[in-house]
């Protein structure tokens, strides 16, 4: 599999850093953002394939961030992390085009699987984008 680029968005520094460290150990290109705003800024300047996004963050929450990401870059895939999410966020996340919803904390192998699947979908859609230009 070619390398893909991941952005982890979570206000919990320890969690974010730990995930990043482990993804790097698996040769995944990964960056981190500690807020929705920072994530959006990074998306302006760099290309990412998949964003992993905590639903619950102070300030701009996960759903708002997801909405903004999808407006900016509709083909970036987003995996939501849920700790104390409301059921509503499941519906909203899906409506806004989130790829999957995983429980936090998440086993790294599971996360890797989902990242791969999300990446596959992105490739599929990018191909469409090109065909339908």
């Amino acid at each position: 599999m070619e390398t893909f680029r991941i952005l982890i968005v979570d206000d919990e520094d320890d969690f974010r850093e730990a995930i990043m460290k482990r993804l790097r150990a698996r040769k995944v290109e990964v960056a981190g953002a500690n807020s929705g705003l920072q994530a959006l800024e990074m998306l302006d300047n760099q290309d990412f394939d998949v964003v992993v996004l905590d639903v619950k963050m102070p300030g701009m929450d996960g759903i708002e961030t997801l909405r903004a990401i999808k407006q900016k870059k509709p083909l970036v895939e987003v995996i939501m992390l849920t700790g104390h999410a409301s059921v509503e966020s499941g519906i909203q996340g899906m409506q806004l085009g989130a790829f999957d919803y995983v429980m936090k904390p998440v086993a790294l192998d599971d996360l890797m699987d989902k990242l791969r699947q999300a990446y596959e979908r992105r490739m599929l859609q990018l191909e469409y984008g090109r065909q339908n230009l």
Partner: protein, 888 residues
């Protein structure tokens, strides 16, 4: 709710408009295939969530509100993703599902909001006020002890429970949740050392943290109250015992947490913290990691009990824990404190008391007891010698034994299950109950099992099976031939099967027992049965034949026997599954939420009620969408036949004109201009398997011919030999990827579609096969359909025949099994081509099936007519024709 991901919609629309002109037809399939895979993936995840919730609802696993919220959210998400995938996949033919889903979502939301009231936040509760319903606040140990005191009026030591609210307050006061999580991140579940390190650090920060002032005050105030009541001022000694929710369960934490005896007032708070910290021993951490129990759903309550100056202590069982047919109270006793019995340091005295009206003492076995454990004046415990004249004396008087036995009986009656009880005799000769919990009967060794006497008066159906999970279960036998049978599994039935399968997990919560002809007690399913506490016998050869379906049977998973009827002598041994969570508010919330997620009302895809408006739960939605998605996928192959672009032709000695569309990695890399590929170019696992079957040497034609015949010649030969009506020229298509195959073949009137996925994730693997025989008034063709159905049934497919069509499914098996079945279908597809002309009687259906199953693929008229024993009666034939006429 109807809003759909905008870009997908636009893409799809533009795709639909231009697909006829599209050069690369593969693109359409890749897109559809992607959606289909997502749908299947969400289906798997949703079913996993349902299974997990069902397990939690059995009440012996821990969970909290965070579990319920997160999983309800995920369930809704995946149902939504399935609905959307299907809707897009079908070109928006399923929009009516959105409002149905929205309605269910609103109901789930309402349940969650209704229950958000805060529980009363008492930090400590005296035992005089505790009942078993308070288990989520005081933990199992304290709840049972409070119940014994207040509902059964049994003597227990004075004491109070430090609640889970206190625990929460303690964590919050010190921001411990964050600190603990930080350290848990360093854990690698496969690395024991990393668990040990995290455990040490976490326990250290817990014991170093401050007990919040309000909590310290509450604990000390209760302590001084107790001291005043006992008239022993500040010298009162207490024992502190962990009382976590579910701790009493055999399955979870038994014995892993801490008990500290003879604690002085100055050590009280420090000891409290030590016990809290025992939530983070390496064993407890790995247990929770393995079981997926979240820390936030775990809470430790601590029992603080007056320390008994025990003359004697011990354990008693309200019936024999190993010799299962002995229904007497068994008491173990030593001098001094109890740990020497519990930890097996001394061989205790054993007294056996009958459960009759007089509590007759049946036996007293006295052992030498040279030492005893006693309280140390400075706190803690120490070993002392037993005075010589007492060493070989019984610890209890006959009257005391009988009093204890009466307590055991009371507890057993009250809880309805055999009990495992700790007791002590204090300096005033008062007998006290220290702990009571359900007794887990231990499974006997194989030799002991055989020694268990047969119970007369009941037909013995099975003997000599291996025990996967000990216990006794009774219910009607329900034979499960394939996984589809599981959906109708009745509550409380005994599952009878040829093989064990982890898929049975779906019904384990409802099964009274499981009996299978084959399967290993160390296998995956066996582990699940123990987890669920389903009495299970495996490797009982011939059991599924010996047990008549529907008949009530008793599974004795101690001796490995199955009796016909309700064996009353064994029924007392049925263990109600332990239910620590039941009755707690959080459990009731899950129950209410799960009612909108788990029940399956849409069971029959053929029924008119199988429709969106009848979906009442997320499970219904997923069932409906799943079913429809196959239908939609079958239509994919129709779509392609309008457009020939993108396909390459396969050259092989096959009587088929076969074109391939590669969705990705189904073929060796080809140059852009390649139009013809060979069998060797194929890398698609399921397609390879199918072709292996089709290219079987015995299927190369009706007459012997060299197998190196070129594709073209083979095809021409086929054309000449084809029966009238099956003309050459129709094409077959294989849409493939590395793990996927959609094979459709239309030859004359007959049409078959095969759809299969064959990858690593067993739950995503499937074969669906649909065969339409042609004009329904052709009796011969209908015979062919029935013959195919018989063969597929034989190979464990779930088969439905409707009119001249057979639909078959084979779901959730490992890749090699799927491949094997595909190979069989490959043979069957070619084999059936020679059938029609031979299907001249009803008997021939049976004969054709037998020949295929025997591996005899060459049929000829002579062989068929030779073996026909007698002509079919004309009346049979007429009624058959009549039938067909109606269906047409």
């Amino acid at each position: 709710m109807g809003t759909i991901l905008g870009n997908l919609k636009t893409l799809w629309r533009s795709l639909m408009k231009k697909d006829a002109a599209e050069e690369d037809i593969g693109g359409v399939f890749r897109f559809k295939y992607g959606l289909f895979k997502e749908l299947l993936n969400s289906n798997t995840q949703l079913l996993d969530i349902i299974t997990d919730m069902e397990e939690k609802l059995k009440g012996h696993q821990l969970f909290g509100m965070s579990y319920i919220r997160a999983n309800a959210t995920r369930a809704v998400f995946h149902a939504f993703r399935m609905v959307k995938s299907l809707d897009v996949l079908s070109g928006h033919r399923f929009g009516q599902l959105y409002p149905v889903l929205e309605e269910i979502h609103q109901k789930i939301k309402a349940e969650l909001e209704a229950r958000r009231e805060a529980t009363a936040a008492a930090l400590v509760i005296p035992y005089t006020a505790i009942l078993k319903e308070m288990v989520d606040v005081v933990g199992g140990k304290s709840a049972h002890l409070g119940e014994a005191q207040n509902r059964l009026q049994l003597p227990v030591p004075l004491g109070f429970a430090i609640t889970t609210n206190a625990y929460d307050a303690f964590l919050a006061h010190n921001d411990l949740v964050e600190e603990i999580n930080k350290r848990k991140l360093a854990i690698d579940i496969n690395d024991v050392e990393s668990i040990r390190e995290a455990s040490e650090e976490i326990q250290a920060i817990i014991t170093a943290a401050a007990v919040p002032e309000a909590l310290a005050e509450a604990i000390l105030e209760s302590y001084h109250d107790m001291a005043r009541q006992l008239g022993c001022a500040a010298d009162l000694r207490v024992s502190l015992r962990s009382s976590a929710i579910g701790e009493d369960s055999e399955l979870s934490f038994a014995g892993q947490y801490l008990t500290v005896l003879n604690v002085t007032s100055e050590n009280l708070l420090a000891t409290y913290k030590t016990i809290i910290a025992s939530l983070y021993t390496p064993q407890a951490i790995s247990y929770r990691l393995v079981k997926g129990i979240r820390d936030e759903d775990t809470a430790m309550s601590v029992a603080c009990l007056q320390m008994v100056e025990a003359k004697a202590s011990g354990v008693m069982y309200s019936r024999h824990p190993v010799r299962i047919l002995e229904d007497n109270v068994l008491i173990n006793a030593v001098w001094g404190l109890g740990p020497y019995v519990v930890e097996g340091i001394l061989t205790p005295d054993t007294y056996i008391v009958a459960k009759d009206a007089n509590f007759t003492i049946l036996a007293t076995h006295i052992t030498p007891k040279p030492v005893q454990l006693v309280n140390k004046p400075s706190g803690g415990v120490e070993e002392r010698p037993v005075p010589i004249e007492q060493q070989e004396a019984p610890c209890l008087t006959p009257a005391q034994m009988q009093t204890l036995a009466s307590y055991a009986l009371k507890l057993e009656k009250h809880y309805g299950v055999p009990q495992d009880i700790e007791w002590a005799l204090d300096q005033d000769d008062r007998l006290l109950i220290l702990q009571a919990r359900p007794l887990r009967l231990k499974p006997p060794t194989a030799a002991d099992a055989q020694a268990i006497p047969l119970i007369p008066g009941y037909p013995l159906l099975v003997a000599g099976g291996a025990i996967a999970c000990a216990g006794v279960g009774c219910g009607p036998a329900y034979h499960v031939r394939d996984l589809a049978d599981l959906k109708d599994f009745p509550d409380g039935a005994v599952l009878v099967a040829n093989h064990s399968s982890p898929q049975f997990v779906i019904v384990m919560g409802r099964a009274a027992g499981i009996v299978a002809d084959h399967g290993s007690v160390s296998g995956h399913m066996a582990a699940l049965t123990r987890e669920f506490g389903v009495p299970t016998i495996l490797g009982a050869e011939g059991a599924s034949d010996a047990i008549p379906p529907g008949v009530e049977i008793t599974v004795d998973a101690y001796s490995g026997r199955v009796y016909q009827g309700r064996v009353r002598e064994l029924l007392d041994l049925q263990q109600p599954r332990e239910t620590h969570m039941q009755g707690t508010p959080v459990y009731q919330t899950l129950r209410a939420v799960a009612d909108h997620i788990i029940p399956l009302n849409l069971v029959d895809p053929q029924a008119p009620s199988f429709s969106p408006e009848n979906c009442r739960t997320l499970h219904d939605i997923s069932r409906f969408v799943h079913e429809q998605s196959y239908r939609v996928m079958f239509q994919v192959s129709d779509l392609i036949s309008y457009d020939k672009g993108g396909a390459v032709k396969l050259t092989a000695p096959l009587p088929l004109d076969l074109y391939i569309v590669d969705l990705g990695e189904g073929l060796q890399p080809q140059s852009k201009r390649t139009t013809i590929v060979t069998v060797d170019d194929i890398t698609s696992v399921p397609f390879q398997a199918l072709l292996r079957g089709m290219l079987h040497p015995d299927l190369q034609g009706f007459e012997p011919r060299p197998i190196h015949v070129s594709g073209l010649l083979a095809v021409m030969r086929e054309q000449m030999l084809s029966p009238v009506g099956e003309r050459f020229g129709d094409r077959s298509y294989a849409v493939i990827s590395a793990k996927y195959l959609n094979f459709s073949s239309r030859v004359g009137y007959h049409y078959s579609v095969l759809d299969a996925y064959c990858g690593q994730t067993i739950n995503n693997n499937y074969i669906t096969f649909s065969f339409k025989g042609g004009a329904a008034d052709d009796v011969r063709r209908n015979r062919r359909v029935r013959a195919i159905a018989r063969v597929l049934e034989h190979y464990d497919f779930a088969v439905a025949v409707k009119g001249d069509q057979v639909n078959a499914r084979f779901l959730k098996y490992p890749c090699p099994v799927i491949a094997e079945k595909l190979e069989m279908i490959g043979k069957l597809l070619l084999f059936t081509r020679q059938m029609d002309m031979l299907m001249n009687s009803e008997y021939s259906v049976e004969l054709v099936v037998q020949n295929f199953l025997a591996g005899n693929y060459r049929l000829d008229q002579a062989a068929m007519s030779r073996s026909e024993p007698e002509p079919v009666r004309p009346s049979d034939r007429e009624s058959l024709v009549g039938d067909e006429g109606q269906k047409n």
